[in-house]
Amino acid sequence: MTSEAVAEFDKVERVYRMGSQQVYALNGVTFDIKRGQYWSIMGASGSGKSTLLNLLGCLDRPTSGTYKLAGRDVNTLDDDELSATRSKKLGFIFQSYNLIPQLNVLDNIMVPLFYQDDWGDADLARAHMLASRMGLSDRIDHRPTELSGGQQQRVAIARALVNDPELILADEATGNLDSQTAKEILDLFDELSSEGKTLVFVTHEAHVAERASHVLRMKDGRIEDMRQQSRVGERA
């Protein structure tokens, strides 16, 4: 496993103004995510984990400190460059799937590519390949509303993989699923991790966090605890 850093946080602060008060959502967060690692971020609501995820996903910028994604300082990027970064280097998986209702499964998978200037037959083939890997080959023309929750989340995972991102961000990705489906999805994440993908999984469930190689606990905008762990998947 290489030790190349995909995401580097250096004394990152994110401050919100609430009237005259300054609220530190993140207060001096420093850590690195290296290629191929599987991170789990935990914490109570209001601990700053959502803010951290937004920063990791280039949806937001630090107030101070630096965040480098694949070696580039996010603070130096303008809005369009941030968009381009999201479409090329990041994959998002959300709790409520967040598929686009008017598009069919294949189009939903391909949305990140649509916002890139150039994509070709190889990308289209890749989208088909991902759909079949997720067991959706026969659903490619269906609308999201015609799919079960588990299937929708699989579409979202395929969408997160279609641009071969540097970093995959999952936000409570199993939160809306029943335990059996959730287990299938988590197995899928293990599989992706073992293929060398870099994953970040925000969760508040301990059994989900157990599967990750690193766990980061947030509290009041600071890192409470950060450790490497032997993975449940590896033990099994």
Partner: protein, 423 residues
Amino acid sequence: MIRSPLLRTIRTGIHSLMLHKLRSMLTTLGVLFGTSSVISMLAIGEGASYEAQEQIKLLGSQNVILRSVKPPDNPNSSSNSRVITYGITDADFQRIEQTFPGVGHVVPVRMLQQEIRVADRALNPRLMATTPLYQEVTGRLLWEGRFISKEDERNLSNVCVLGTEVARYLFPFESALGQRVKIGSDYFTVVGTLAPRISQSGTPAAPGTEVTGEIFIPFQTARQWFGKLQVKRRAGSRTMEQVDLHEVVIEVTDPKSVPYVAAATREMLQRFHKTPDYEVVVPLELLARAEETKRIFSIVLGSIAGISLLVGGIGIMNVMLATVTERTREIGIRRALGAKRRDIVTQFLVETVCLSVGGGLMGVALGLAIPLVVEHFADMRTIVTLSAPVLAFTISAGTGVLFGIYPAWRAAAMDPVEALRHE
């Protein structure tokens, strides 16, 4: 899989609109009715003005027409058997003929009140006594035979030329040429018939129905037989009118000098007539007035069209603003997946333009159909010029762009994080 980003955006936009079919349909109605009303109103206006212009052109654009007008009854003259003398006189006619430069032809016309009869068929058409030049000046075309000639004038011949309707009515099954027609108490030989002015419906008038038409006899012949005095009998009273000439048509050689001839004629008549017992009709002036009317009509129409399209545009903007709010989450997702602000702008602008263009296209279809219906049921002439649908459609599409900009900008200005959190 569609490769072109714009085409794909358009397809996605149509899909999005199809998710709410009724709402999209209702939204397009404003533009639809705006567009169709512009096209159909323009068509009706164009048709009406065309007809007016055609009628004016029949009078001849190089002509100045003088008409005798009976002055309002003078209450002081109580006697009901007095002879009323009014109108354009022979002296006027001679003055015009002799003194005006730039005048080509001057043609006198007298109207006569006489019954026309062939066997048991009788008519009261417009019986006009005139000179050979009349045909040339008014540009009337002959159907058969010839018009009144100079020889007829000189010899005081009893000849006549029939208008189409009169000829059809009096001689429905045979040629009128060479037939004899009784006018008043004298017989006249038909030497020619005129072609119809405008091609009208081909059915001849049924016997007994009112036939209006014209019949022409030589001017000097009429003077000889019927004199200048006309007796009108009306319920117990009898009025006598003495009118030299009912109409004088002046043809001006150079079209540019029509206004000067008209002005000079007016001035001259004013000097010799104490009461206004005449009118001067200048087709060219009427034409100019018709143009002016049409221009005002166009401005009014343009304003109405503008207002209705404005209302349609506001309707679209209203719905699009609601749509943007409703789809905040979708915007957040798209932004998270890499959409740039301008991608979001394009997406919503395309949807708005789809709405307005859709409404515009349906409006053009409806706007082309309405004139046909009007023409069929209201018997009005309508003219659809190519520019009307093109203009209406362009404006409706432009409305979409104009009123789509703000909602699209609102959508693009959203913070991705906020938008994603939106329920």
